[in-house]
């Protein structure tokens, strides 16, 4: 497969990844209250995932800096990530207040976000694992049926 169709397949696949969410989001969310809660949830999920993923990558940047002999790499990338994180937080909180959902304070909201991420992350990981297993089950059965 040459480069252009490969890129096209990836773009269409990326669109298919969000298509069910968009369709069901339009079907299920209607009122202004839902839109406001949905925005707060989006922003909290975005900030929690960004923070946790960035922490993971920063730890890996220390390994990268050691293997590539670039001692500044983790600090530079940490600065980029922090600057972008602060910018995103300011942009999101300026749109929707403090993003507190049902919690009284920011500390409670942070802890809620962590547990929430644990539950949603588990659901997503289970789905990915099921997809991988289904592919492998089919591959191994195909070879078996040739015998």
């Amino acid at each position: 497969m040459n480069e252009t169709p490969k890129q096209r397949v990836l773009v269409i696949a990326g669109f298919l990844l969000v298509l069910p969410s968009l369709v069901l989001g339009i079907v299920s969310g209607s009122s202004d209250a839902d839109a406001s809660r949905g925005f707060a949830r989006f922003a909290n999920a975005f900030l929690t995932t960004y923070t946790l993923a960035s922490m993971f990558f920063i730890i890996n940047m220390f390994r990268y800096s050691k293997s590539r002999r670039e001692p500044n790499a983790p600090w530079i990338s940490m600065t980029y990530a922090a600057a972008l994180g602060i910018l995103a937080s300011v942009l999101l909180t300026s749109q929707g207040g403090l993003l507190l959902e049902d919690n009284s304070g920011s500390r409670a909201q942070i802890l809620t976000n962590v547990v929430h991420f644990l539950v949603t992350g588990s659901a997503a990981i289970v789905s990915v694992a099921i997809m991988i297993f289904i592919v492998f089950v089919n591959i191994t059965s195909r070879k078996q049926s040739k015998d």
Binding site: P20, R41, S54, F57, Y64, A81, M131, T140, Q144
Partner: protein, 267 residues
Amino acid sequence: MQDEIKAALLLWIPLAIASLGIAMQFRRQHGLQNLGKGFLIIGLGFYLASFLTVPESPSSASSALFVAILPALLLIFIGLFIATFSGETPVRRFNPKFRSLGLLMFICGFALLEWMNWHESNWLPSLLWKGETNKYWLIFRPTFLLSMCSILLFGSYVVKNMGGNKNDASRNLFIVSVFSFALLLLGLYSDNAYTTTSQFSTSLWLATSDLLGILAGLGLSVTVFTLAIWYYERKRPGIDDLPPPSDKQLNFAAKVIRKNLGGEESE
């Protein structure tokens, strides 16, 4: 205050220890990896027991949910594991006769997860928490079905167009994806044992926001660190511009290869 300290000791610190255990799996030293496994087991054990040890903490409802869905998830994964490794693989671990059993276990696990949602029964794990529907079930189920639908649809398309001649896999992924979508639609138009249609509609809307938020957060983080790595990599000379390796570098490479392959040192 005492409740907060109890929650910190019996829920949050174990969760942090479990995370540390996962992080230690990425270390090369076997000793640290084994220690990490110990941390993971202890941390997860305390976390999963937190619905008994600190029921006053709202977050402990999540551990009650994980314990309730554990049998269904175990059936799903053990079933898929058996079905995969009883097939024609170089590392076949099970007799091919167990393949149908594995697939049956997968279907039973999935059915159990749905049955728990549609019927409240004494012999099924309860999805109630303090007399009400566990709020984390209202988060888990729509997120799980929605991510199943999205990820399997994505996988089906990618496998069909980039995976060579694997149409069976693509078709089956598509079927399970459509099935998940149908369950989501059913939830929107029919009440079940734990949620009304309007509750499910709100949960689904929030799950949609959640998944899009996760995708956006992950995407931005990956982009930032890709740019940082690209910044350093573009400064490095191309492979054709490099001088030939010195004796010191060759000796170092030989040492690394010997360490990984083993064997006798030749004269």
